[in-house]
């Protein structure tokens, strides 16, 4: 290889030059000798420069080798060298994450995402801020979807009809052959069964198939349909939750479930921000009518418990009242005439509707998707009469064919795309029979044939089972709830030879294009732009603006209105409300450990499902928990469920409906409608992976799914609720995994609430309770700004030494220039309890960001879950005295608790090893390497946020924790081990015996600080700009309830939040001085409503229990007033 000589560019004529310098006269003269010398690599005689002659050299070397040989020093193992990228891939900087736009496919709406990849491994997803309605937020399912990509039990190869492994080429060939066979009889007997999808490309392929194979049928099936309103109205309602100030939800859990919950929560929360009395009065008021306790119900200001089977009728009553009050008396009368047998407080309806009518166009009624078509029509008319904040969009028509049609018209060739119909088909559709009856079956499934009911079934009948790609490794597209066109872009080559549903459909549609080509075609069709740059721009931004669905005004009337059913419910004829589980959805996410372990926000159960029953029913069955002396003494509110030795021990009950029986543990749920039983789908899998099944049984070679299967109760006609159920106790009990033992806050002032009236009366209503009595921890500096307090507050006689925030780290260098350099930024957080809906997205996001291990059901039962961030759920029913009664109609408050980063942290002073220390920016840091695991810090943390690695959760599998070094290791030698690939490389993995806790996402802070320093170059502008750092929980929060940033900068969002009059710190009387503070919750009560309380129930309880926080009607706020002077 010859040397490449780089010459200096020759000077152009007239180009300005500086003075020229030269090292010797030869250089100046540009003599040829000089030129050769300058260009030579070695000088003359360089080879003999050490005056060692060749012979001498060889002699010495020979002797050295001889000596070396004597000592056998040369006998060592060959060294293996690691090599750096010899050709660095473009756009890859080791250690720096790369972000791509994509979207999380939903059945009804996609969520636009930004995916974080490290060395091309997707590790985390965030909301795509280019799509304003969801901001940086995403759902917990989207968060957890990354883990699914690396599920070791996903299908890693396709299986042919003979049971042998099928290559991708062979699989495609088989599909092409199947397509040509279908072509010969125009698709007679060919049926596709797929989950609904928003993908326009798929819709296009389906259309092509319809025209190419007119006899074929395309069936879309989902156990939890979200399009009830669309089917009834012919258009999709797009409620404007941000504009609406009075919302009535009729069993619509718009905040808690469904593909649009993120956008809905974000919009709703924007109407719930209030920092003074006027704003508090303008705040959105939420009325909810529901049977089970959903997140929407938890957020409600007024909540009416009603049986699900009555809610359609109730919808008619509400609609009739709206219509009556707005002068549409004929329709009102018609509606009223169709309702009978509903027992409801008429005053509730009247006052609620009056409030809605008063708000006019700023009102809104939303109806649950499962309500009857007539109910949707009634609600539509009511909204129209109100001029409500809702628009209607034209959406593509749903599939014409239903799963139930297949029973009468049996398919001969069945193509099953995704889903898991062998498990989740309604009980009255014998799906297994259909599969067995079909001559040819093709199945595209995500999980291996040993871990998925449908795949196992198809394999057993000799069908073809194709491995499906994850959305993070395949091309597709989709639409958000309002129809905005978004891409599904792969981040990584498929980890295994797998296909997407587009790949499977294309041959039938007669297309030879790959998925990328198909999506590109669709994009051109939708955007009307064929240019590469437009496509690239779409992929880069992740959103095609102004591509939403068309807005129409549907024509709806009440023609052919049928009577609203309202079955009589009693103890012998109960109702079951069937909902997707927060852990597994409808069963799709059953093998996802993060979701399995993220507790249900209301029941706080994890890893399994329960039968929720109302306190009234529990009393009737006499299964209320036994109460101890302490309850009778008046020191502690009674339990709502039986706890034995810290474990929830549930009674097992048998539910019977039309001869079908299911069995599960009972969980008494406050706030449930009296005769409603709550059931959650997605458990009790019979063929499933390691997360979805019980560990102990699996180790014995048996497969027993977590929880119990509810699908036997799902029928085609009524998938969401059934009535006429009988309940019988079996006499057995079982422990249920539960993450919060106690429901009541016991009158403690940890949670603070108020309302507009409070704010008007006393801005500082949040500063109450024991903190009002405690001496001012800031001493004479009580009045200082938060910034000044953070930096130079006196220690207030604290026993705890405080880090010196005043001295910059490299002060010696800066000496004499101190004024030119900014003070160090001080990090802090503010959590708004008012907007938090308890959706759990933050819990899952934290787990994804910080490599928090999943510990498994067994360990959670032992109380050892590792979540750094938890959502405490407290019920309040306004009791001013302790009692063992279970609250029947409570209010709920969620409180996110992670490390509070106390300035005088109690954990720090007790650690004998100095493993947890304060840094100069106010973080309470944890040096894992230094931790020896005394757990003293966890004991001394009043917020109980520290988590200990009791066992090797990162190294070993659940079920093998107790085998010590004899157990199989989770981390194999192979570095491509799947679950490892998800890990965030910026966060260390903790071994057993080490304490861990929230770090305020220190890795994100550091990244931002480094970037700020890079940007600052030589200037002093090294401060991180507000908003640059988004901690994981903050970024994902759809309610934007979490603010994080520099509290010394009064313009930062967090400082503004902390300056709010609602701000308080939890347990601050301990002089912990937490950097995380809370903003008190605001209730927005309509005082005319029946049962409305002037005072939030939590405050009422606090006043009754501890004489703290007395409502101002009775005693004012003496302690607060005392505090203020």
């Amino acid at each position: 290889m010859s040397k490449k000589i780089f010459n200096h560019p020759t000077l152009q004529e007239g180009e300005p030059t500086g003075p020229s310098y030269w090292r010797s006269l030869d250089e100046r003269n540009k003599s040829p000798e000089f030129r050769t010398r300058a260009e030579r690599e070695f000088l003359d005689g360089a080879s003999t420069i050490n005056t060692v002659e060749r012979r001498e050299f060889l002699m010495l070397m020979g002797a050295s080798f001889g000596l070396a040989g004597l000592g056998l020093a040369g006998c060592r193992e060959p060294r293996n060298h690691t090599l750096p990228y010899s050709k660095q891939p473009e756009n890859t900087i080791p250690g720096v994450a790369t972000y791509y736009a994509s979207s999380f496919p939903g059945e009804w709406a996609n969520q636009p995402l930004i995916v974080e990849t490290h060395q091309h491994r997707p590790t985390k997803v965030e909301g795509n801020t280019s799509h304003a309605p969801n901001g940086s937020a995403s759902s917990k399912f989207a968060q957890a979807s990354v883990l699914d990509l690396y599920d070791p039990e996903r299908a890693q190869f396709s299986v042919g009809a003979n049971g042998a492994t099928l290559s991708i080429a062979a699989a495609r060939e088989a599909l092409v052959q199947l397509a040509s066979e279908a072509k010969s009889n125009s698709g007679e007997g060919l049926v596709f069964v797929a989950r609904p999808s928003t993908s326009p490309t798929r819709a296009r392929l389906v259309q092509l198939i319809q025209s190419a194979l007119p006899q074929s049928r395309f069936v879309e099936y989902t156990p939890v349909s979200q399009n009830g309103a669309e089917l009834a109205l012919g258009a999709r309602p797009l409620p404007d939750y941000a504009k609406a100030r009075r919302i009535l939800s009729l069993d619509a859990d718009f905040l808690g479930s469904g593909d649009a919950s993120v956008e809905a929560t974000r919009a709703y929360a924007s109407g719930r921000r209030a920092d003074n009395a006027d704003e508090a009065e303008q705040m959105t008021r939420l009325y909810v009518v529901e049977s089970t306790f959903t997140l929407t119900g938890a957020a409600a200001d007024h909540r009416l418990r009603a049986s699900t089977s009555h809610i359609s009728a109730l919808a008619a009553l509400f609609a009739a009242e709206v219509l009556a009050q707005t002068g549409n008396n004929d329709e009102a009368t018609l509606l009223l005439s169709k309702v009978s047998g509903v027992n409801v407080d008429q005053n509730w309806i009247k006052e609620c509707v009056t409030d809605l009518v008063k708000a006019k166009d700023k009102s809104l009624i939303v109806a649950g998707a499962h309500l009857s078509a007539d109910a949707h029509r009634a609600v539509f008319l009511a909204n129209a009469a109100l001029g409500a904040a809702v628009r209607y969009a034209t959406v593509p028509a749903a599939s014409k064919h239903q799963l139930s049609d297949l029973v009468s018209n049996v398919p001969s060739t069945l193509v099953i795309l995704g889903g898991n119909p062998a498990y989740d088909a309604p009980a009255n559709v014998p799906f297994a029979k259909l599969v067995k009856a079909a001559k040819k079956v093709v199945r595209l499934g995500y999980h291996g044939t040993a871990f998925d009911e449908t795949s196992a079934l198809v394999k057993s009948v000799g069908g073809i089972v194709l491995a499906a790609s994850h959305y993070l490794e395949s091309w597709s597209d989709g639409r958000t709830v309002d129809g905005t066109y978004v891409p599904v872009q792969p981040m990584i080559e498929p980890l295994f030879p797998s296909l997407s549903d587009l790949d499977v459909l294309a041959p039938f549609a007669g297309s030879t294009k790959d998925a990328h080509g198909l999506v590109r075609e669709t994009f051109q069709e939708i955007s009307q732009d064929k240019s590469d740059s437009a496509f690239a721009a779409w992929l880069a931004e992740g959103v095609l603006h102004k591509s939403g669905y068309g807005i129409i005004n549907p024509l709806v009337n009440l023609d052919g209105l049928k009577p609203f059913p309202a079955p009589q419910l009693s103890f012998d004829a109960l109702e079951v409300r069937i909902l997707p589980s927060v852990h597994t959805g409808d069963g799709m996410y059953a093998n996802n450990g993060w979701l399995a372990e993220a507790p249900d926000p209301m029941s706080k159960t994890a890893w399994e499902n329960v039968i929720l029953i109302s306190p009234k029913l529990a009393a009737k069955l006499d299964i209320e928990p036994r109460q101890g002396v302490i309850t009778r003494l008046g020191a502690l509110n009674g339990k709502i469920n039986e706890m034995v030795d810290g474990r929830l021990i549930a009674r097992i009950a048998k539910l019977t409906l039309d001869g079908v029986t299911i069995q599960g543990p009972l969980f008494i749920m406050p706030g449930l409608a009296d005769f409603t039983l709550g059931l959650q789908l997605g458990f009790g899998r019979s063929v499933a992976g390691r997360v979805a099944t019980r560990v102990a049984e699996r180790l014995q070679g048996k497969v027993v799914g977590n929880g119990f299967n509810v699908y036997p109760f799902v029928s085609v006609d009524s998938p969401a609720f059934r009535s006429g159920v009988r309940l019988e106790l079996t006499g057995e009990t079982a422990p249920v995994c539960n993450m919060q033992d106690h429901w009541s806050v016991e009158g403690r002032d940890v949670v603070r609430e108020g309302n507009a009236e409070d704010m008007r009366h006393n801005q500082n209503f949040a500063k109450l309770g024991i903190d009002g009595h405690a001496p001012a921890v800031y001493g004479k500096d009580e009045k200082l700004s938060p910034a000044e307090k953070a930096i130079n507050t006196p220690r207030g006689n604290s026993a705890y030494e405080h880090p010196d925030h005043t001295v910059a780290p490299n002060m010696t260098v800066w000496r004499g220039h101190e004024s030119e350099f900014p003070q160090l930024q001080q990090w802090g957080m503010s959590i708004d309890l008012n907007t938090c809906t308890g959706c759990n997205a933050c819990v899952t996001a934290c787990q994804a960001e910080n490599n928090i291990p999943v510990v498994g059901r067994d360990q959670v039962l032992k109380g050892r879950n590792m979540h750094w961030l938890r959502l405490d759920r407290y019920f309040f029913d306004g009791r001013d005295q302790v009692s063992s009664a279970i609250p029947e109609d409570p209010q709920v408050t969620f409180m996110g608790v992670a490390c509070q980063h106390c300035e005088t942290a109690p954990c720090e002073t007790v650690c004998p090893a100095n493993a947890t220390v304060h840094d100069d920016q106010g973080l309470n840091t944890m040096a894992y390497n230094r931790c020896i695991g005394t757990r003293y810090c966890a004991n001394n943390c009043p917020y109980k946020v520290r988590r200990f690695n009791f066992l090797d959760y990162n190294k070993r599998e659940a079920g093998h924790y107790y085998e010590g070094p004899l157990g199989p290791a989770k981390l194999p030698k192979d570095p491509t081990d799947l679950p490892q690939m998800q890990k965030n490389p910026d966060v260390s993995i903790r071994m057993r015996g080490v304490m861990e806790k929230c770090t305020y996402c220190v890795q994100r802070i550091q990244e931002a600080k480094i970037q700020a320093k890079v940007n600052a170059k030589d200037s002093a502008g090294i401060r991180v700009v507000d908003g640059t750092i988004k901690v994981a929980c903050q970024q994902v929060c759809p309610a934007e309830a979490i603010e994080f940033g520099d509290i010394t900068d009064p313009r930062s969002r967090v400082a503004k939040a902390k300056a709010s009059s609602r701000t308080y710190g939890a347990l601050t009387y301990l002089n912990t001085r937490p950097r995380t503070t809370y903003q008190a919750k605001l209730r927005n009560l309509n005082i005319r409503m029946p049962g409305a309380n002037r005072v939030p129930l939590s405050r009422k309880e606090m006043a009754g229990r501890e004489s703290h926080g007395k409502p101002h009607e009775t005693s004012g706020h003496p302690q607060v007033e005392k505090n203020s002077h």
């Binding site: 302490i630 002073t909 004998p912």
Partner: protein
């Protein structure tokens, strides 16, 4: 020794005139036993052929001790999760056992040091065995804080060793204070015990019949010849060590109580803990001394040396400290109520009536109610009953530590984070095994070392008084 006969010439004359009647002093050694009898009795225990009961008991003790060994091996190889710990109860049986054993380890040094300084002559009959008990109990205690850490292989970080990263232990942590307090206590107690034994070891050496016994005890006796100068130095050193140990008796358990009192957990954060813990430690220590001495006295027929007077004294100390402990329990309640702090109030009501009420009432009945029987002379004279009451006290004091440690942690500030702790079989076996470990050491002590301080017993015996005859 400090005992010096008084000469009549120094008596004030008035005494001769009024001739007050001497109050009879309790005899410390009964039946007019002479020096030779004492030597024979104590050395005989060491010199006699190994009795069968000893072999059987020793084998059993070894077996039981192996439980601790296996338990710790499993713990270290697998993780702290093999114990019943959980959030929010980060300290369970290990810390309970630690405080329990350290408490037991109090009586020995109290008897040898404080009673020595207070010239309580009756202490001589029991101090040797009590000191041995102290040392072995502290050894048992040391196991728990060492092994309860998550990464025991790094436990040496607790020592202030200079290192290149300039990381020091956290000197503000009570656990760090514990390291110093317990290790100092152990060192001084061991020195004190051993030094006091030197003259007796010399006696055993002198009586040795076989060469190996002679060699063994020669080494241990450190060349003791019993010369006047040696005695003089011995007495001075003994006194100094007694002075040195005295504050340690108080400091160790004070510092152990700081583990709790310095934290902010309701139910832990109380200023009463240091005196209350020290009283409790003496309480449990004396109970343990009686538990051990009563059977030994019966086996080796030591009734003349350890007589009713000794037992009476110990029972009275138990009664006194037991009442102090009871008073402390009551004070805690009063202060919690008086503070008006809802968290404190709840912590104590919860102790008595909450989920761990059973443990609380076991504690109260064993520690406060049972010792009250010692008011009755009849009870003190019924040695079986005394022994049973002492067992109750031991159980009660274990429960006291359990109640303090566990109930406070299980229900503290945030009701959302309440929990319930129960031990696993590994916890139970590891603790059970320490009794075996303790017994192994104690049996070895009984078999090979002088059970009673012969020299000191002789000094307080009637024969040592020139006016006795």
């Amino acid at each position: 020794m400090a005992h010096a006969p008084q000469h009549s010439s120094e008596r004030p004359e008035i005494l001769d005139r009024v001739q007050p009647a001497d109050l009879p002093r309790a005899e410390l050694i009964l039946n007019d036993r002479n020096f030779h009898w004492v030597t024979d009795k104590v050395c005989g225990i060491v010199e006699q052929p190994t009795p069968l009961w000893w072999k059987v008991t020793f084998a059993m003790a070894l077996f039981v001790a192996s439980f601790t060994g296996v338990g710790l091996f499993y713990l270290v190889s697998t993780g702290t999760g093999t114990w019943g710990l959980r959030a929010p109860v980060g300290w369970g049986w290990a810390i309970v056992n630690f405080v329990f054993w350290v408490g037991i380890g109090h009586a020995g040094t109290l008897i040898s040091a404080i009673l020595c300084l207070l010239r309580q002559k009756w202490r001589t009959s029991i101090n040797r065995a009590a000191e041995a008990m102290t040392i072995f109990a502290v050894m048992c205690a040391g196991i728990f804080p060492l092994f309860h850490v998550g990464r025991v292989w790094f436990a040496w970080w607790l020592f202030p060793l200079p290192n290149q990263n300039a990381i020091w232990p956290q000197f503000r942590s009570p656990l760090e204070w514990d390291v110093f307090a317990v290790s100092t206590y152990f060192t001084v107690s061991t020195l004190f015990w051993y030094m006091g034994m030197v003259p007796d070891l010399g006696a055993i050496r002198d009586r040795a019949k076989t060469w190996w016994r002679k060699a063994f005890y020669s080494v241990l006796a450190l060349g003791w010849r019993g010369g006047n100068r040696q005695w003089s130095n011995f007495e001075m050193a003994y006194l100094l060590l007694a002075g040195l140990s005295t504050p340690l008796v108080l400091s160790v358990h004070t510092i152990v109580s700081f583990d709790f009192a310095v934290s902010n957990v309701p139910g832990w954060h109380t200023t009463i803990f240091p005196p209350y813990f020290v009283a409790g430690a003496i309480f449990s220590g004396f109970a343990m001394v009686l538990t051990l001495m009563l059977p030994l006295r019966a086996i080796y027929r030591l009734h003349d040396v350890i007589n009713q007077y000794h037992i009476d004294n110990m029972c009275k100390i138990i009664l006194a400290t037991g009442s102090m402990v009871g008073y402390a329990y009551a004070t805690e309640f009063f202060i919690a109520a008086y503070s008006g702090n809802p968290y404190e109030k709840f912590a104590f009501i919860n102790r008595a009536f909450g989920q761990y009420a059973w443990a609380y009432w076991i504690m109260v009945s064993c520690n406060v109610i049972t010792p009250q029987l010692f008011w009755f002379k009849k009870v003190r004279e019924n040695h079986s009953l005394v022994w049973i009451i002492c067992l109750f006290v031991n159980v009660g004091m274990w429960f006291e530590r359990f109640v303090i440690t566990v109930t406070s942690l299980a229900n503290d500030y945030l009701p959302s984070s309440w929990g319930y702790y129960s031990p696993t079989i590994v916890d139970i076996f590891t603790f059970f095994g320490t009794f075996g470990f303790f017994s192994v050491l104690f049996l070895l002590f009984v078999r090979f070392l002088p059970l009673l301080p012969m020299a000191e017993v002789k000094m307080v015996s009637p024969h040592a008084n020139p006016h006795a005859h």
